[in-house]
């Protein structure tokens, strides 16, 4: 009982069936390992993990927000801001810089959450505004300049490993496990489903939905900032444009993982599959040297195909009229 959420089967299964995205992940893994000799090397696999960890971390928080029935478009900008702060403030000491960076994510998350809560305005709108605004903030702060960490210890952290496992990948996987457990096992996690599944019912039942939403916005803000700091350690630097389009890829990954944009349904395991799918596709196509122009087309087509397959699988599950 205690451990059944950690075992592999429980991880792959969401509510008794294998999540389609994991089937897809396995299929493309097999495919690329036939197409490229390097693909299955330990080095490459850990590379994939490190590279997906950025979007992956944000996606963990995004899963909560989306299960809540909201969305956060400002995560890419938060990531950029946190990255810039974590490098730009290093004159005041590394700890100060990192704490300030993470705090910026918490604060912007809180602002988003409070506005959604207090005004009742659609989260898409609120966070789209924040996305534009925070990007402006980054430029104001950086004066359009990139920052560069003079201290290589910072970037060495990003490249560090524990045994054969890159530190960043480990951080990501640990966070994923924690977020999975919180979602499945705690009151906050369950209420996240309740709020997204039927906000009015949740309200009637005495759940303070505004508070839950705000907490989840803070969580995603934190993870976006954490991703920003870790990305900055990978680069030893930060650029003002860092994280552009990340919100879209994050949302895509979460949706591929089966979380419903309408809220009330989703899982961290699915999200993990979603980010891996995108990471593997990008990496595999690099390995196969697919020309850049075609990568864009292929990614688009695959995204749509996964949606179609997912839908076909789900239609069988429900007897209802398809509208």
């Amino acid at each position: 009982m205690v451990n059944n959420m950690i075992n592999v089967k429980g991880f792959l299964k969401g509510g008794g069936f294998v999540q389609p995205i994991w089937v897809f992940v396995i299929v493309i893994t097999v495919f690329f390992s036939f197409m490229s000799d390097y693909f299955l090397s330990v080095g490459n696999l850990t590379n994939i993990l490190v590279q997906t960890s950025t979007i992956g971390l944000i996606a963990l928080g995004m899963t909560y927000v989306m299960i809540n029935g909201n969305i956060d478009l400002s995560v890419g900008a938060i990531l950029g801001l946190a990255a810039s702060l974590s490098v730009g403030l290093q004159d005041y000491g590394l700890a100060v810089a990192v704490i300030a960076a993470l705090a910026s994510g918490l604060i912007i998350g809180a602002i988003n959450g409070l506005i959604v809560w207090k005004t009742g305005v659609n989260a898409f709108i609120v966070t789209l505004g924040a996305m534009i605004g925070v990007r402006g903030l980054i430029f104001v702060y950086t004066g359009e300049q990139s920052f560069y960490a003079t201290n290589f210890a910072f970037s060495d952290f990003g490249a560090a490993s524990i045994g054969p496992f890159p530190l960043l990948a480990i951080i990501f996987l640990v966070c994923a496990l924690i977020m999975h457990l919180v979602l499945k096992k705690t009151g906050h996690g369950r209420n996240t489903f309740a709020v997204g599944g039927n906000a009015e019912a949740a309200l009637d039942a005495g759940i303070r939905i505004g508070r839950h939403m705000t907490i989840n916005f803070i969580i995603v803000g934190f993870f976006a900032a954490l991703a920003g700091v870790l990305l900055a350690t990978q680069m030893g630097a930060a650029t003002p444009n860092l994280g552009r389009d990340y919100e879209l890829w994050t949302i895509t990954a979460v949706v591929l993982g089966g979380t419903k944009l309408t809220g009330g349904y989703g899982s961290i395991t699915g999200t993990l599959g979603g980010v891996l799918a995108i990471g593997i596709l990008r990496n595999g196509m690099n390995m196969m040297q697919v020309p850049a122009f075609y990568v864009l087309v292929i990614l688009g087509v695959i995204l749509i195909s996964v949606l179609v397959i997912d839908q076909k699988l789900n239609v069988h599950a429900s007897k209802g009229v398809s509208i």
Binding site: G15, K185, T186, G187, H188, R190, N191, F193, A194, G197, N198, E200, A201, A202, L203, D204, A205, G206, I207, R208, G264, Y265, K319, V321
Partner: protein
Amino acid sequence: MNTSATRSHVADHSGAAAPVLSLIDITKKFPGVVALNKVSFDVRPGEVHALLGENGAGKSTLMKVLAGKHQPNGGKIVLEGEEKSFENPKQAKKSGIVLIHQEQSLVPEMSVAENIYLGSLPLKWGNRVDWKKLHADSTEILQRLKCSFTSREMVSHLSIAKKQMVEIARALVFTPKVVVFDEPTASLTDHEKPVLYDIIKTLQEQGVGIVYISHRMDEIFHLSQRITVLRDGEYNGTVNTAETNEDEVTKLMIGRSLELDHASKPHDFKENMLELRHLTVDGVFEDVSFNVRKGEIVGMYGLVGAGRSEVAETIFGLRRPSSGEILLEGRAETIGSSHEAVEKGIALVPEDRKDQGLILGMNCRDNMTLSALGSVSSMGFMKTSAEKVVHDKYQSAMKIKTPSWRQKVGNLSGGNQQKIVIGKWLHTHPKLLILDEPTRGIDVGSKAEIHALIKELARTGYAVLVISSEMPEVLGVSNRIIAMYDGRITAEFDGDAVSEDELVHAITGQVAQAPKVATAITDDATVP
């Protein structure tokens, strides 16, 4: 209005205990509507106090004020002698007030147990959910309610009736002081009702005060000790159930007696309008054959989940038949979409008005004309004056209570919403009218009117198929009754000659293989 006569709380001479809850002079206004005007109401411990009134009279609103969902514009709430003001549902709940909603408020993608304990999940060590306790406690409640499903089942997989049971199960989580049931039986069949009645009895024995809102007189007389009637947002008297009768209560509600027109079923049937031959949708229903003639009302009776709605949806082009035929006016037709169905003269008043019937954010007028936009536009341009005419026609014909055609349908009371849906479909002037639970949540007065309307329509040549879970309704309007059980037709009866027992047997699968008193299903059924 005869308020002053009855205001001297009739029940006082019964020497009953002091009320556990009193609502005093509650006023609630919405834009353009005074939903409640100085309404007073009380409940005693261990009593079932029925709240009655026409659709839109303010019953749900009063209870929402009580439960902290609405803030009153005036008046006070006194609970066990203490004045309370509930700013949100949580506070009301904490004080021991449970409201079982008219419109179900469940979270679909969560387990039954989590829904029962929504907002009060048992936690251990900080924030961890205590699953063991949760499921154990829920299972116990479900057993008390004699539910056949488990606490781990996903609510989205349950039928509407089972969902209603989950909703009711919430009342048993704590020992509450007051439980409000807002039309709990609207989506229950006769099957589940006794269980609910038992529960209510148990609660009564525990000294809980119960408010019971329903449009079903039989229930009210069966359950309640007192009846309070609201009319147009005003208190209109309280009576002791034992000292009154249906007619008197109805008068209080609508200001007159109901003229019941049992005798006047239509009887002039013409050629077949609809005929189904061995219609099957795999996994949903099987081998369904019956016919509806012009001028005839056919009732379809069965338990929730029997597959009646699905048959209707298939006729309406929303599901693809796997095999079998649909004939309209003698011609085999494929109805590929709801749009084609409408064009072929079929109308379906769906069972779920909120999800299927209405665009809640749109106003009354726009909803009313939505299925027949062609009739109120020329060359694609809307004729707004024609639209208003249509709206006003059905508003007055069906006595729809709305401050204006501009009112958002979502702000109407449940019964008035239902009337809009019916009006909207009448306006398409269909040849075949299918009504799926047409009077769900409709008050007795309006119900009688709708029944009369259905008969009138049949008389003017409409073919009508009425799906209902209410026996009196099916018996009252149908020329013929088709019984369904588990996706199959089990029997067909003459609407005037069938007994209640026979019907009950047929819909619970206990019927003898051959239908007993059936009008033979003939291909050419012009026999009157």
